[in-house]
Every structure is written in C-alpha cells, then in structure tokens.
C-alpha cells in the first residue's frame, strides 16, 4: 500500500473507532435505560444523540487535578497507556480485504501482546494514585487480566490450528466454507468470557466495583484523564467485538453487501450483546471470578485445543 493510502487508512480507522466509541456511550446509556424501564439521557438533541458531545465539552472544561500524594509522572502516563494501547491494536484489524494498517504475519500474537501490555495502564493507575481503594482495584485488575489472558490465548489456539496462520486476513479467508463459531463453539464461549474480563466490564468489573471500592483504580482521576479511561473502555469493547467478528464470525465475509458493511454489522451485533449482558448479569465475588477462570475455563480451553488438533490430524 502507498504511504498516502496508509495515512488515510490510519486516520479513517481512528475517526471511525472514536466516533463508534462516542455513539456507544449513547447506545449503552439509552439501551440500559430501556432494559431497566427508565428513560435515560433524552434531552440533548434528537433522542439525546448529542449527549456524548455535551459530556465531552463538560469534561474538557473540568479542572485537571492531580492529588498531591500521587506519583505524578506515572499518574499522567497510566490513562494514556490504557487508551493508546487499545487504539494501537486496531492496526492489525482488517475491516475488509486489504484494509489492515499493518498486515502482520503474527497479527493475532500482536493483539495478545498489546492486550497483555494493557494491564500496565490499569495497574499503574491504581498504584500511582496512592490511595487504598485505587490500589485494591488495580490489584484485582492485574490478577484478573493476567489470569484471563492465559486461556484467551489458548482459546485462540483452536482458531490458529484451523486457519493455519496467525495472520488476521488469512484467518478470515479460511472461514469461507464455515464460520469458526460452529466448529469452535467452545473456543468462542471461552474467548467471550476472557474478553469480558479483559475489558473489565460487568460481570467482571471488580476492579472498579463502585459499591465497595469507590471507583476502584480510577477513583482519583478527573477531567480528561478520567475521560481517557472512560473512552478507553468503549474503544476496548469495540476492539474485542471486532476481534470476535474476525476470529469466529467470518470477518467481512457475507453475500450482497460490501465487505466493510458486513464487518461493521457483525461487530455492532456483538457490541449490543455485551451491553445486554451488562444489564442481565450480577457481579460475582472475587474468588468466584478466579475460580471460574482457573477451574472451568482453563481446562475447557486445553480440552478444546486437544480435540481441535486431534480432529484436524485425523482429517489430514
């Protein structure tokens, strides 16, 4: 691809992802309100659609305060790591044939690498705040994200075995005959659980459990720094939904419509699924989260990997 084309693609991806995140804030607030039998924000603009814009103006005008007991450099760095790391991962995601910014032959591993670096943003945010609630929240976040990463990788092992490649474009092309959500149904289930834990959303929002830890790791954050955590969460959901689409739902493959339209539609469906889950599920205890990870998901992921490998060998 020409350098100019790459720059256009990078800008397009950034604008697309950030506006999707802004729209998602509205979708989630109105959607949750609908599910909980209330109205939600409906005052700013038609149906309240301009609400995220109003929120943004408000949060930009807020005082940007750093608590005196905080480790200043790390305190400023942490929210940038959360948002930057998530946005960087979009470089390997292909919304259509040839539409990946970086078509790496280790694309899937690059995603795992960047998501494993995502732990630092959250862990350091809590540590540098020098506040006991923040510290507890980030300790929970670090242990939860590190454990769920393990079988996120193992679940994706099945996809890699079936596609025979780490390249995201080749993984999508390998799903021409059947989407991987059929033969890899168990892998998809494990990946979805791990993905929820990675994005730290309900039912896995223990790092910020507001009724025990104030606001967890971002208790001390305000203004634009808080906004970066907030937007980072929605960018994270978009990313995970795009990856579920790529790995299990056939990516941009589909009849009639152009490839990008299929990709966006599938991603939107997965995102709506996440929002409904948030309304439907309660938050478990911390030991239950750890037990689910190591006692259920890990053995299941290993069995899934073994069976996939065995079946593929037998078919060869």
């Amino acid at each position: 691809m020409s350098p100019a084309g790459t720059i256009v693609l990078i800008l397009g991806t950034l604008i697309g992802v950030l506006s999707a995140a802004a729209l998602l804030i509205w979708v989630e607030r109105r959607g949750l309100a609908l599910l909980q039998d209330r109205l939600g924000p409906n005052r700013v603009g038609p149906l309240g659609l301009v609400q995220p814009l109003a929120d943004m103006v408000k949060i930009m005008l807020k005082e940007d305060w750093i608590p005196p007991q905080a480790d200043r450099a790390v305190f400023v760095l942490a929210p940038m790591l959360v948002l930057g790391g998530t946005l960087a991962t979009f470089a390997v995601v292909a919304a259509g044939p040839g539409l990946a910014i970086a078509d790496l032959n280790v694309g899937l591993l690059a995603f795992l690498a960047l998501s494993s670096l995502g732990v630092y943003g959250v862990a350091l945010a809590g540590w540098s705040s020098n506040n006991k609630y923040s510290l507890l929240g980030s300790l929970r976040a670090a242990s939860q994200m590190v454990s769920y990463e393990v079988f996120m990788g193992l679940a994706l092992g099945g996809v890699v075995l079936m596609a025979g490649s780490f390249n995201l474009t080749e993984i999508v092309e390998a799903q021409r005959w059947v989407w991987f959500c059929v033969p890899q149904a168990a892998g998809l289930a494990i990946f979805l659980v791990a993905a929820l834990a990675e994005t730290r959303r309900l039912p896995f929002d223990l790092p910020e459990a507001e009724n025990e830890l104030v606001a967890g790791y971002h208790s001390e954050y305000s203004g634009m720094k808080f906004a970066m955590f907030f937007v980072g969460e929605y960018v994270g959901i978009t990313l995970i939904a795009a990856l579920v689409t790529t790995f299990y739902l056939g990516g941009w493959l589909g009849p009639w419509l152009p490839p990008v339209a299929w990709f966006v539609a599938k991603t939107a469906v997965v995102v709506c699924g996440f929002i409904v889950l948030r309304a439907a599920l309660p938050r478990p205890r911390f030991d239950q989260v750890t037990a689910l990870g190591w006692r259920v998901c890990l053995p299941l992921a290993i069995v899934n990997l073994l069976v996939t490998g065995g079946v593929l060998l037998a078919l060869e």
């Binding site: 450099a73 790390v74 690498a113 350091l124 540590w127 590190v146």
Partner: protein, 173 residues
C-alpha cells in the same frame, strides 16, 4: 529496517541504564518493560516477528506484570527510595562496572576483527511456521526438556500452594 534496529537498540540501552540508576522500584520496572519492548523491536527489525511478539507477551506482558504486582503489594514508597539511595553508593558500582568493561572490550574486539560480519548479509524473515518446524524438528529434544522443566515447576507451585491451603483449613478448626 536497519534504521529501526539502531533506534530500538538505542532505546534499549538507554532504558536499561535508567533501570539500574532509578531509586524508585516502580519507575525502574517501567523502564525495564520499555527496554524489553525495545528488544522486541530489534527482533522485528532482524526479521524475527514471532520472537518479537513472544518477547512482548511473555517478558513484558506476563513476567514483568508479576514484578509490578509485587511492588504494588509491598508499597515501598519514600522509605524504599531512601534505602535504595543508601545502597547505590559510588563504591557499589566498582564490581559491576569492571565486569561490564570486560564485556565491552570483548564486543569491541569482535566488531574490530570482523568476526560478526560473517553472519551478516540481508536478513531473512523467519515466520511462525519455520520456527515451529525447527522447534519440533532438529531441536525437538530441547523443546521436550524445557517442557519437562516447566511441568516440574508447575507441580511444585501447585504443591506449595496446596500445603498453604491445608494449613489454613487446619487453623479454621
């Protein structure tokens, strides 16, 4: 690609130097993570994308997180910084500096004698398939031995954690 290599190498050297000189343990760890990421960049520039990805996943993403976790739990703060500055007296640098000087001399000798140029030439990109084929082909014995080592470590960790758990149950009674 050569430019990428030298930039990554410079970042790695600088970050590692900062790791050694920082008084605050958490800051030192952050520089170490940066140094590991820079090493991954070097691997990528040399044509080993798989090694680069694994460097970030295993070292920067998993092992270093455990170190950060430990530093967070210990909550060293100002007290730790004071202790560290007591330890980092100029005399402490003598031993490591002498040993590092020997290594530096060796490096200069190798570069000067041109022994490194033999392996030079245009780097070939080694994809994941090639690494897998090599690992379970000519190097199968090494892969098996390291898997046995990992298994032993896992069983030992399980045993230690289990004994702790049983002690706690005894205490409850």
């Amino acid at each position: 690609m050569q430019g990428l290599f030298y930039v990554s190498a410079a970042v790695a050297v600088l970050a590692t130097a900062l790791v050694v000189t920082r008084r605050n343990a958490a800051h030192a760890l952050l520089y170490l993570v940066l140094s590991l990421a820079a090493v991954a960049g070097m691997f990528y520039a040399l044509g080993a994308p798989l090694a680069a990805a694994l460097e970030v996943i295993v070292y920067a993403g998993a092992i270093m997180v455990l170190f950060v976790f430990a530093v967070m739990v210990l909550a060293l703060g100002r007290e730790g910084e004071r202790q560290e500055s007591q330890w980092l007296r100029p005399r402490m640098w003598l031993g490591p500096a002498a040993l590092a000087a020997v290594l530096l001399g060796e490096l200069i000798y190798v570069l000067a004698s041109g022994a490194a140029a033999v392996a030079g030439g245009t780097p070939v990109v080694v994809g994941p398939q090639e690494v897998g084929a090599a690992l379970f082909g000519p190097y199968a014995l090494g892969a098996e031995l390291s898997s046995m080592l990992l298994l032993a470590g896992m069983v030992a960790a399980y045993h230690l954690a289990r004994r702790k758990q049983m002690d706690e149950k005894e205490g409850e009674r």
